[in-house]
């Protein structure tokens, strides 16, 4: 069996596991879509600062959250379960190369994310008439790709500091929720005090959210260049990979 078909088969099993596990599929995939519907319906005719319709802000916001949810939350929770139940140890005892397994995990997370993006785009268009301008479509795809890679790396890496599988949902919610509120996901960042605005920009959610908003044709509120957004995501990707490497060290997995 070639490495490529091994990866493809492994992605199929990852996807099977993802969709069969209703709790995980619902929490990471359905939640952002459900919030898009609920928040959109509740604030349908509202406008935000600058005269933009709230729903035109909400669609990219929920898309950004959806990316975090299908990559980071899903990989962190399932990774902690695989570790605690001994599946990682079992896999380590087989000839399956670690890079094949990691590639398949990443590819599967990209697939789930792509499915979520498609659903959000359809709901946004059908329910609220929100569309992606052609001239920013490339920027949107690039932003989604960078965010998917960054939050997949962080999701796989953070397992190292999650003490046990039961704590995994609490840890992922604990690190993402506060940041979601200051990162332009649920509400615009224009009203944030300067210190909070600066704080948010240290973490990866804000740059992803900004990139997605730009991908939908928004102008960055503070006028920063996209380079700093990509740089911040790259740094956090590196952090994720470092944590992942330490997590996968031999005796950590065996213990």
């Amino acid at each position: 069996m070639t490495e490529f078909s091994l990866i493809v088969n492994q992605v199929v099993e990852e996807q099977r596991s993802f969709w069969r596990n209703r709790t995980r599929a619902v929490f990471s995939f359905v939640m952002p879509v459900a919030f898009l519907v609920l928040l959109g319906a509740a604030n349908r005719n509202d406008h935000i600062h600058g005269g933009t319709r709230y729903v035109a802000f909400l669609v990219p916001g929920m898309l950004a959250w959806g990316i975090i949810s299908t990559t980071f939350n899903n990989l962190a929770v399932s990774g902690a379960v695989l570790r605690d139940t001994g599946v990682l140890k079992r896999l380590r005892g087989t000839p399956l190369p670690q890079w094949v397994w990691l590639t398949a995990r990443l590819a599967s997370s990209v697939l789930s994310t792509a499915a979520m993006v498609v659903v959000v785009l359809i709901v946004g268009r059908v329910a609220y008439g929100v569309t992606v301008p052609l001239h920013t479509a490339g920027a949107l795809i690039a932003g989604i790709a960078a965010g998917t890679v960054c939050f997949s790396a962080l999701g796989m890496g953070i397992v190292r500091i999650i003490p046990n599988a039961d704590a995994a949902p609490a840890v992922t919610a604990g690190v993402t929720l506060p940041l979601l509120f200051i990162s332009g996901v649920f509400s615009p960042t224009t009203g944030l005090p300067a210190w909070l605005d600066h704080l948010a920009k240290f973490f990866p959610i804000r740059p992803l959210s900004d990139l997605v908003h730009v991908g939908f044709g928004a102008h960055l509120p503070t006028g920063s260049s996209l380079g700093s957004e990509y740089l911040t995501l790259a740094i956090w990707t590196f952090v994720g990979v470092r944590m992942l490497r330490r997590f996968l060290r031999r005796e950590t997995v065996a213990a």
Partner: protein
């Protein structure tokens, strides 16, 4: 002949304590070798070094000619590991799991044949999380065998089984031995070691304290035979005929005669009893059991250390 497993002066430290100390043994191809010892004796540490999960601090280890620490794919293709309490992806079915794990190996065994061997054919479409404890262990065995390994590691294969499930598991393991696989078994059950192993190494406190076939372990084959009986009222040990090369002691549990010439001494005693028309109640002749030997060997090891029993993980 090259050994399937060759371990020389293996050493592993956790903190400032030796979990495994100067452990040496070899296992021949096709042999069922058992590492027997109480919990915390160093069985799992030794096994996990052989499997490549842990790194040794000293000594040399060769498994099928490979250094397990090198973490080679070619090495993993030739071994099968059945670990204690190791889960599987819970949302996949039995057949899906066996097929998936089979893909990792160059020559996987057919799924149906394997499910038949471990008795899970009826459960092939059931989700892994719906299996009972015993069924999970059978799935573990199937996943350990799916790559058709030359060497199979079985870590405490029947811990938590009820007696009939243990018998069934033993029968399955004996079937595997008949396939000519080398099996490295760890257990803390003496009867399991006796039932399955060609050779046993007893490990206690990180060191091997005895090694041999189940019959000869700890000098059991040459140990003194014990003859026990009660004398009728009015007779004492002084009335017994002279018993060469035997020690005789009497207590409230009757008379105990120990001798390395068990057959001859038994013959003298029974001949005397028949001739004198003496009835010897509760007459018995026995060799020390493997359990007696095991308890003596592991107790000695504990006595030579001031660490509390089971303090080594």
């Amino acid at each position: 002949m090259t050994h399937a497993i060759d371990v020389q002066k293996l050493r592993k430290r956790y903190g400032d304590r030796d979990a495994v100390r100067d452990v040496s043994f070899t296992v021949d191809p096709g042999e069922v070798f058992c590492l027997l010892g109480p919990n915390g004796a160093g069985k799992t540490t030794t096994t996990e070094i052989l499997e490549g999960y842990r790194l040794a601090d000293g000594g040399t280890v060769r498994v099928l000619g490979h250094d397990p620490a090198a973490d080679e794919r070619g090495f993993r293709e030739r071994i099968g590991i059945v670990l204690q309490e190791c889960g599987v992806q819970p949302d996949l079915s039995v057949a899906e799991l066996v097929r998936m794990y089979g893909r990792y190996y160059p020559h996987p065994r057919p799924v149906d044949e394997l499910l038949d061997l471990v008795g899970l054919t009826e459960k092939r479409n059931s989700g892994a999380k719906t299996l009972s404890g015993g069924q999970k262990r059978r799935l573990d065995l199937a996943l350990g065998l799916v790559g058709d390994p030359e060497l199979l590691f079985l870590d405490e294969p029947t811990t938590g089984f009820d007696p009939s499930a243990r018998r069934a598991a033993w029968a399955t393991i004996r079937d595997l031995c008949a396939l000519g696989k080398t099996v490295f078994l760890t257990t803390h059950f003496m009867d399991e070691a006796q039932e399955l192993a060609d050779r046993i190494a007893v490990i206690a406190n990180g060191s091997i304290v005895a090694m041999g076939t189940p019959d000869e372990l700890g000098g059991r084959d040459t140990a003194a035979t014990e003859i026990r009986f009660h004398l009728p009222a009015g007779l004492t040990t002084a009335d017994l005929p002279s018993l060469p090369s035997a020690t005789v002691s009497a207590g409230e549990h009757g008379v105990l005669v120990r001798s390395t010439e068990g057959i001859a001494v038994t013959n003298v005693i029974t001949g005397w009893a028949i001739k004198r028309r003496v009835t010897l109640a509760n007459f018995s002749v026995s060799q020390p059991s493997l359990e007696d030997m095991y308890l003596r060997l592991t107790a000695d090891a504990h006595a030579t250390t001031n660490e509390p029993v089971g303090s080594i993980r």
